[in-house]
Symmetry: C2
Subunit: 400 residues, 2 copies
């Protein structure tokens, strides 16, 4: 590779990554070797969006851990770090506009300052990785009320966020305004999944508001999501929402919305048939916290399944593997993500005709890749069996 | 700590480590804070030898992984990395004197060059950690014969090393000569454990040699260990041997031998009563591969148990936790070592009167230390339960 041509600096980065993976240390000559040269590689990603979700609410992830995840992403050419920053359990990030929000963090030290967030974004950017920030509203937001209890429907009924209170939307506006100074990726993720509206009907002042506005809870859910979308758009973002928003009122979503599939494998065809863009993360295949999901399942999951129209295929902008944080912290996140995420990454990068139909022909390649990750300091787990298994007997790396 | 006094640079390093652990980032002032100042700390280790064993034969450990282990050792003031380099499964290290020895490595890439070994030793030295190299003879050495089959009793009976062949001792001499240029710690470890001598009696030429020399296999085992000791001493080393050598012929060992206990908790009193030095690693308490061993067990294991005489107590130079590699590789070694090794490290460092008798009073301290390790990029596992457990529900770091 005496010559390297790329349209962007990120293409050049990916090319250098490929080049580094062709090289190996020759123990006899003590030189870096390159087998089967000359090489002529013409390469481009199949999907522009190749994501990995991390969740810093269920467990705090130290900066060093997040940077380690980003490093490993670049080795497998994943290019979007979906940072599910806050959730009902904790609010770890500083929001200068509403400085009491991070009172909902687990502790004084389990927090990210704005400079920390900038540090992560810059670290990722230098490596060709975009950071997609998420605030998941109106459900999954109980921790917001630790600092501002008026965001809760009531002290005894704390989720979803109070839809009847203008302050709720002022806070969302403040967060997204602060985000827009840090998270420069064109998308922001507004969540919208798993909204249990019972607190809205059980809380007198919200019930009254619903009546006054002639809304049922389903209307109110839609109202909330659409109003939050408008705020995000006003700060220059395009919006990603979890699929429930589409399933419930897809025709009302902003037309530039990207629908993030997670429940099943059949939503993407409906989304693109409706003319909206889609990201595929169906939980039965691409949720990394499902430890019984093997790398073969990750590898075989086809984002375009059931989508035959070329125009519609283009609306699937990519896919994402999700590392939810309930049983993950700095101690075990790397071997729960890797190497299974890399199996999905190959499908997201390579032309469909180069994807093996029989995973056996991909095994030795992925196995060597996991050893390369280990060499580079990434705690990628053995291939065999379920997620994050330990090696069960002595042996060479590629046979684990 | 405007003033720091230490007798050696390593004392100063330890003091800076202590200092760094007193400091924390204040999220309100954005400054590094130091609670309860002024501090006046006068500190010294209880035992000079505070070790951790890693095993690069059962699984190869990449350099990045070993360096990560060394970094974490310094945080808990462990100061000896016992590198169990080779074993029956693989011979990963380059030996210039006998360049075919590493033919017994798992693969061309699962190898350490001499410059790699020098890199590890220097990396460790800069952090106040000595590297104790081990070749475990005459058992645990089957991999040696891949490159030099004449080291095997026969092609069908490959362990222990051929005691009757002078070449065996020439190779040991070559290895220790090469080691002496790299591993500058005053000790070398010669193993000597778990010797199954049946190949010696089953192999005609060795049986004949035993008869000619009027030896039974027990004599031959002793002969082997003592001859290997002499070779090590000729290269300037003092020798550490596993306890079987002492249990079988302790009065014949070189008087400067350090006996490394591993089987049970009662050998140290016998070793020091015999006037030899001892390192404590009893497997029921300090073997990190025993996943059912909890941190409380690591913490409560007292190296001087049953040794009341002060002179004899001084012969216990320290202790070591052992991370055997059968089910460990780069993917899971950190969370299998930490935080349990740190519990033992406190006992090896702090005065006995400061060690909690009730582990409950040490829990919050160790819990915070594990979170500090995470912050520093070390994948230390949750405290609760067995070795390397995953966090089982969302929560703050200190409550896992």
């Amino acid at each position: 590779m005496r010559r390297l041509r790329a349209q962007t600096v990120f293409g050049a980065l990916h090319a250098l990554q490929t080049f580094s993976q062709l090289c190996h240390f020759e123990f006899t000559s003590r030189l870096i070797g390159l087998n089967s040269a000359p090489w002529m590689i013409s390469d481009a990603p199949r999907f522009p969006y190749r994501g990995l979700l991390i969740d810093t609410s269920r467990h705090y992830l130290p900066l060093a851990t997040i940077k380690g995840v980003i490093d490993a992403m670049t080795y497998s050419k994943l290019n979007v770090l979906h940072w599910h920053i806050v959730d009902e359990q904790s609010f770890p990030i500083e929001i200068p506009s509403y400085p009491k929000l991070w009172n909902g963090s687990y502790s004084y030290s389990e927090r990210y300052t704005m400079p920390d967030a900038i540090d992560i974004v810059r670290y990722a950017e230098k490596r060709g990785v975009n950071v997609l920030a998420e605030i998941d509203v109106p459900g999954h937001a109980r921790s917001w009320g630790v600092g501002y209890p008026e965001l809760w429907p009531s002290d005894s009924c704390r989720e979803p966020l109070d839809v009847s209170n203008n302050f709720t939307f002022k806070v969302i506006d403040g967060i997204l305004s602060d985000f827009s100074k840090v998270f420069k990726f064109k998308f922001v993720h507004l969540g919208g999944d798993e909204v249990n509206t019972s607190c809205w009907t059980e809380t007198p002042h919200i019930k009254e508001w619903l009546n006054n506005n002639h809304m049922n809870v389903s209307d109110a859910y839609r109202y909330f999501v659409l109003r939050a979308q408008k705020i995000a758009i006003s700060h220059g973002y395009e919006v990603i929402n979890w699929e429930e928003t589409f399933n419930n009122f897809g025709d009302k979503l902003d037309r530039k919305t990207v629908v993030h599939n997670w429940l099943g494998g059949d939503v993407a065809p409906k989304v693109v048939a409706a003319g909206l863009r889609c990201i595929v993360s169906n939980q039965d295949k691409w949720y990394l916290d499902h430890l019984d999901a093997t790398w073969e399942g990750f590898y075989l999951n086809e984002p375009l399944k059931g989508i035959n129209n070329t125009e519609q295929q283009r609306l699937v902008i990519g896919g994402e593997v999700c590392m939810w944080g309930e049983q993950i912290d700095a101690s075990d996140i790397e071997q729960t993500i890797w190497p299974r995420a890399a199996a999905a990454a190959e499908r997201l990068w390579s032309p469909l005709e180069q994807i093996a139909e029989d995973t056996r022909s991909a095994t030795s390649r992925l196995s060597r890749f996991r050893c390369l990750l280990n060499q580079r300091g990434v705690a990628a787990a053995p291939l065999a069996g379920n997620g994050r298994t330990a090696p069960y007997e002595p042996g060479p790396c590629v046979r684990q």
